[in-house]
């Protein structure tokens, strides 16, 4: 899943720690989400949506994972 957390955070001049405190998660979790290593739960996505005052789909976009051949895992 892709997301715009880093951009939205930068626009507001917030650090990862600031955003983490606001969403009540650890800074490591924010870092992992921004890097696309961890997908947040629906409640956390809603929390971010409320915080940035944006629809969820403007923050998180579904992007199927690609394998080495460029195919999505779901299509295999």
């Amino acid at each position: 899943m892709k997301n715009r957390l880093k951009v939205l955070r930068a626009e507001r001049d917030w650090t990862q720690a600031d955003l983490a405190a606001e969403l009540d998660v650890s800074r490591q979790t924010i870092n992992a989400i921004e890097k696309g290593k961890f997908d947040p739960s629906l409640p956390l996505a809603f929390k971010a949506s409320r915080l940035f005052d944006l629809p969820i789909e403007d923050i998180f976009q579904y992007a199927p994972e690609m394998n080495d051949t460029g195919k999505t895992k779901a299509s295999e």
């Binding site: 606001e22 650890s26 979790t29």
Partner: protein, 140 residues
């Protein structure tokens, strides 16, 4: 930036408190385990009543420790929980598979002495810590 969450209620503060509680209950349980292990021989000369009380106390303190661990896990955020649960799953599976194999060593004639169940604790602890480290690095 000031957050809407009071300082005392922040994740780090909550985790610190739950970790302290878990440490205290684990330490107390460990002491009671030592009491059950060494008390009968060194303190009360195998008195059945004293041993029963010590054992009951050990189990009750163990339950309290499990409860403190559960509360500690509940205080974590979702990624921290995922890392912990993955480590627990791998630890459980490794313990099951290697514990079964270990138990079969004597019947298979590969081990002269009777396998000690306490050795399984090492498999559990090591597999848990190794998976915890791997998953923590994975999400960094």
């Amino acid at each position: 930036m000031s957050t809407s969450i009071p300082d005392g209620q922040k994740l780090e503060g909550r985790l610190k408190r739950s970790t302290q509680k878990l440490f205290i209950w684990t330490f107390v349980w460990l002491l009671s385990t030592a009491l059950v292990a060494f008390g009968p021989k060194l303190l009360w000369d195998f008195n059945i009543f004293a041993s029963s009380i010590a054992l009951a106390m050990n189990v009750l303190l163990g339950i309290k420790m499990i409860w403190a661990n559960k509360q500690h896990l509940e205080e974590m955020d979702e990624m921290q929980q995922k890392i912990q649960f993955n480590a627990m799953a791998v630890s459980l599976a490794a313990t099951f598979v290697l514990g079964t194999a270990y138990g079969l060593l004597k019947p298979a004639g590969l081990l002269a002495s009777t396998p000690s169940p306490s050795n399984i604790m090492f498999v559990m602890g090591i597999s848990y810590i190794v998976t915890l480290i791997i998953n923590t690095i994975k999400y960094q």
